[in-house]
């Protein structure tokens, strides 16, 4: 099943025309409404009328997460606040979150791309979908919710957590589709037996999982545990949220909804655009978003794009599963974590030095973060109660900054591996890639 065949199976020329028209309009809106973009475009001597084709995209400036922070909170909005109907935000590195706004039309567009995504996973109005993504500032819950309502499925807006209740309603309501993070899906799967539920009573047939990286091994495991076919949904709040791209039943990469989001792959060092099939950093330009359009936004996700025809009939470009990051960001339990945030916390505390290491593991399918902090003579105390108190305070400050609990382990000075004089800050033992 294809939700919007006209677009999803359009020939390249038709798609390029749609993109070019929308692109020109968007550049105009950006230029006249956002001082940041106007300045950037003026720097390269460009005026709105100069843009006529999507082919000109490669000559335009990039936007980064730092630009979003610099314009916090509403500096990149192209519409007055009265037109904004929704605000979402993701956790920030310096205490300030990344804010995204939506007009009513943006919400409609978002619902449309999520409807297309759910249709790819075989979800129809006859399905009961359990949305176990978090509802709130995070885009996962509301994003899936609106898309599912658009196709007419029955939505259970249960949000994340409360595993016992998730499973009870899954059985009692007869949920046929599940949307959540892949790690939570695996956790739910493993809890079935523990809760004394017979796998026969689980009616699920499809799972729509995203917001964190996962492996093919995890897919096999989740599919077996829940008796479903598991699909990967990709998105990031800056671009729209979940529904930027989605896997079809052939699972050979995620189809990017190119009539709204134009993908490019660049070399993160030279910034030049790379041809299809080459590995590089994924960049998105939104061409229909009203509230906060983005021009060549650098996602920092590393992947490849493929343009050859997919067996499902869709002509949309496909992107591989992300193979890592061009920066040092980690995604732990769906939360974006930069090692620099941990460093900032330790620097803020007068008793600690910023010698630390993050150890990320996956235990029972849930990510666990351990932060090793070197004991330094500066704060080294002879008394256990003082050291325990310090551990508690580090743990508390980390939790309030990252929005994620971490186990703090005090280690001896010099214990943290240093390579070429530079500390090795992150050990990721999850083997996601």
């Amino acid at each position: 099943m294809i939700w919007n065949e006209t677009i999803e199976c359009a020939d390249r020329q038709t798609l390029t025309e749609i993109q070019s028209n929308r692109f020109a309009t968007m550049i105009e809106r950006m230029y006249y409404n956002v001082p940041f973009y106007r300045k950037e475009l003026q720097k390269i001597g460009l005026e709105p009328g100069d843009i006529t084709s999507i082919g000109q995209l490669k000559d335009l400036p990039f936007t980064t997460k730092q630009d979003l922070r610099d314009n916090y909170p509403f500096g990149l909005f192209t519409v007055p606040q009265s037109e904004i109907v929704r605000l979402h935000a993701s956790s920030g590195t310096t205490g300030k979150p990344t804010v995204v706004g939506y007009t009513r039309k943006d919400i409609d567009m978002w619902s449309e791309v999520v409807a297309r995504s759910l249709t790819m996973a075989g979800v129809t109005k006859n399905d009961i979908i359990q949305v176990a993504y978090g509802y709130g500032l995070f885009t996962g819950g509301m994003g899936l919710h609106y898309g599912a309502e658009k196709i007419g499925a029955s939505v259970i807006p249960i949000s994340g957590g409360n595993t016992k209740k998730q499973l009870q309603l899954m059985v009692d309501f007869g949920s046929t589709a599940l949307a959540c993070t892949p790690s939570y899906a695996a956790f739910l799967g493993e809890s079935i037996e523990k809760e004394g539920i017979s796998p026969k009573d689980i009616k699920l047939k499809a799972g729509i999982f995203g917001a964190e990286p996962w492996t093919e091994e995890m897919r096999v495991q989740i599919e077996k545990l829940l008796g479903i076919k598991a699909y990967d949904i990709y998105g990031l709040s800056e671009v729209i949220g979940p529904g930027v791209s989605m896997e079809c039943e052939y699972q050979c990469g995620s189809h990017v909804f190119e009539d709204h989001f134009i993908p490019e792959i660049i070399n993160p060092e030279t910034l030049e655009v790379l041809p299809y099939g080459e590995l590089g950093e994924l960049v998105f330009t939104t061409v229909t978003k009203e509230a906060m359009p983005l021009l060549r936004y650098r996602t920092r996700d590393l992947t490849r794009l493929h343009i050859d025809q997919c067996a499902c009939g869709r002509t949309l470009v496909r992107m591989d599963k992300c193979l890592g990051r061009s920066d040092d960001m980690l995604i732990i339990r769906g939360v974006n974590v930069f090692p620099s945030q941990v460093e900032a916390v330790l620097l803020d505390m007068s008793e600690t030095t910023p010698h630390y290491q993050l150890i990320v593991t996956r235990e029972n399918n849930l990510d666990a973060l351990e932060i090793r902090v070197e004991v330094d003579d500066q704060f080294w105390s002879d008394e256990i109660k003082v050291l325990e108190g310090l551990k508690k305070r580090i743990s508390h400050n980390i939790a309030s900054t990252l929005g994620l609990s971490a186990k703090i382990k005090l280690v001896e000075p010099g214990n943290i591996e240093r390579s070429e004089g530079k500390a090795k800050r992150v050990i990721d033992n999850r083997h996601i890639q």
Partner: protein
């Protein structure tokens, strides 16, 4: 009267204690008394040695997190109620004890402890004729 105790941070890793005893042995430093305090994933080794300054230096050179803490050593009559008598004096004078460990010394028993207020502890114990270990005594054990 004030004894310099070495406190060493011990990571929860096999062989750390052995490493310390090796370093001390190689530098001909004798251990008079010690205790290990154990927390969830690390420990603190507290020890009294002859030549504490040298021990501090060599342990630091070998990458250990180590510092010195002032403690008191006291000879306790080796009979029922011996320790009780000493502790009563301290509690009556509002001096609390952060930690304490004991060792035997020929016919008497000795305790090493870290009081909340070290000067006051010495003063009240001496006033009550409790026998405190002199620095020279304990370092030479």
């Amino acid at each position: 009267m004030i004894i310099k105790q070495l406190s060493v941070f011990l990571e929860d890793k096999t062989g750390r204690l052995t490493e310390i005893t090796r370093i001390l042995a190689e530098n001909d430093i004798n251990i008079s008394a010690f205790t290990v305090a154990e927390a969830s994933d690390y420990g603190i080794l507290r020890l009294i040695v002859g030549r504490p300054e040298l021990a501090l230096q060599v342990l630091k050179e070998n990458g250990f997190s180590v510092n010195t803490t002032d403690v008191i050593g006291m000879i306790v009559p080796h009979e029922p109620g011996g320790l009780h008598q000493a502790l009563k004096i301290l509690s009556m004078n509002n001096v609390s004890i952060d930690y304490m460990y004991a060792f035997a010394l020929e016919n008497s028993a000795s305790v090493v402890f870290r009081p909340s207020v070290i000067e006051k502890a010495i003063e009240v114990l001496q006033k009550n004729k409790m026998e405190l270990l002199r620095t020279s005594q304990i370092y030479q054990l």
